[in-house]
Amino acid sequence: MGYGREIWHALWITWKDLMELRRSKVRMAMTVLMPLIMMTMISFIYPSSENILNAIPIAIVNSDKGPQGSYLLAGLDAINAQTNWLTFKHASNVSEATDMILRGEALGAIVVPENFTSALTTHLYTANITILTDNSNPQISQMISQVLTQVIDVMSKAQASVDVYAYAQQVHVNPVALITPYSADSQGVVSGGGSYIEFMIPGLLMMTMIMSLMTGLPRAIAYERDVGTLSGFLVAPISRASIIAGKVLGRVVQGLIQGVASLVLAIVLFGITIHGDITWVLLTLFLGVFSFVGLGIVLTSVAEDETTAGMIMMTLTMPMMFMSGVFFPIQMMPDFMQTIAHCLPFTYAVDAIRRVMIFGVAITEISTDIAILVGFGAVMLLISIPMFNRAMTQ
């Protein structure tokens, strides 16, 4: 007869859990809201310059004695008119500009030196434009100085090509090639993408599904034990494995609902494209979830009541989330953190799903990840079943 009865019983327990979810409007709403809030939040914490630089006030100091300074600022104005990232405010000298920054009226300043026209006409030295930034706001400062440096660099090169052109005409060379003899151009190994959201979505998806199991399972069972309903399952003539399997399946389905919701949101709201085969994506997600079933059951057996379960989960999942490369690339961490990250199986789950989703690689390319996940999952499962049985009959 095999395991037919056990599976049948497990499915009834899963049915019960899912009915409870379906009947509770709040739980249902939260299931979908959680990934939405998570993703919206993250996309704002790690913004791109497009959506953060919006009419940032910048003080302008033109100390130039000649006309070139005004030409430069007019050019800057014209460029800014297209993006409207900045709003220019006039200041008569450097100290006034500094005061404006200190008072918070400007977030940065551009200072054109008094020898600007002279430098441009004599070609004997380089004029130095100073960019002042607000040190109390490092993120914005960095962004402003990057943008302004680049813009001024481009304008400087344009000016150079005009000047060089006059000389270059006699020797028949391309003035741009003379000024910029070589340049670099980077592109990803697959087309498109490269945004932070795209880096993060696969890991977030894996995290959502695994967390749904890891935090949900111990809490659900501890809760049923606290309110006494677990006894109803325990005195029924069913295998203990059916109880835990039913509960696990219930959580996996909930995780899948959240996962699919996240994916749809990612595609609709953030324009993500999946390069990999959707079947492989799902299989990889299930593999990730499978590898954590055992650990989830171990924690369930250890958690004495719902509060304890919640505390254990918080303690374990926080470092897991932040150290496994979901939000920050592991390569950016200090050495010892990298070592720890490489000891966490979750890291491999995130790595696997990211490769499958972004690169669309064949399963053989992630065989190391798969081996580690299957191994970890199997070992934990073997440890967990007797632990669970013992916890259920004290």
């Binding site: 009865r5 049948w8 019983h9 009834w12 327990i13 049915w15 019960k16 009915m19 409870e20 009947r23 509770s24 034990r225 309110v227 006494g228 309903t229 006894s231 109803g232 399952f233 325990l234 005195v235 029924a236 003539p237 069913i238 004495e304 009959t393 004290q394």
Partner: protein, 333 residues
Amino acid sequence: MSSTIITEDLTKVFRGNIRAVDGVSFEVKTGEIFGLLGPNGAGKSTLIRMLCTLTRPTSGRAQVAGFDVVQDANEVRKHIGLVAEKMIMYNHLTAYENLRLFGKLHDVPGETLDKRIGELLDLVGMSRWRNTRVSDFSTGMRQKINVIRGLIHMPELLFLDEPTLGLDPKSSLEIRELTAKLNEEQGVTMILTTHYLDEADMLSKRVGIIDHGKIVALGTPVELKRRVSNSAAVVLQLNISNLTANLLSKVQSLECVSRVLTEDSTELKIHANGEEAVDTIIDAVRSAGGRISSIKNLEPTLEDVFISTTGREVEDKLVREAPQLPRRWRRGF
């Protein structure tokens, strides 16, 4: 007459060497309602958990419905139903869905199950609430569903743990009637634990009193009460029209008096021992100037049996310093 439960020297020792159940040997006869009484922390819950296969005995043996609770736990589970103090049901599910879930887990075949659910709902007069969610029910209605849920697979033995705790008088009465009816008409053997000794007296064929993990009294309610009245113990109800604190302390200080309860401003309930106890008490009251307006020699109740065997009353407030038990032990059901 055969026995549904047989235990031999059944013992459970928890961490810290606490003997929650200490060498208990008793039998529950097939078809009877067996009342299991005892103060809090006496070992009732642990004993029942072992019989339900929820807790593994440290030593000794227990056979339920002919099967060993350790070796054949799953067989035992097929033959028992549990109505625990904490209700086993899911608020988001309807009455029918709750009953069906547990029927399915007990492998009750489909058609039989639907028929059985219908019969059980009829039995408690709740057929019209079949498709209503349990969360909309009153506590009394929920308890009815909880009781019939324990019967969904027609168990031979039903554990009823505090079935009327927290219910209003009408619902309590209905549950008691249901219990008696199930026992008489369907022949379900039952183990009943309760704090209400009248309830135990009314329903139980036999009663066992457990204290400090041991069964200290076992017999029919009548036998147990006779044991109290045959002994030299007496229970007097005394009405003294001019009762004073001084008089009260005088009575309390008498050697033959074991316990004095003041029922109201004039009435005393006195537990005393010895052949001349009644004489001594009356003399003492009168010599102190007390006017006895009435005197009654009370028939012992199960409560008196309980007090004389455990030295405690059933109500929590009067239980002396309950020992600090490990959390797992107190969890109950």
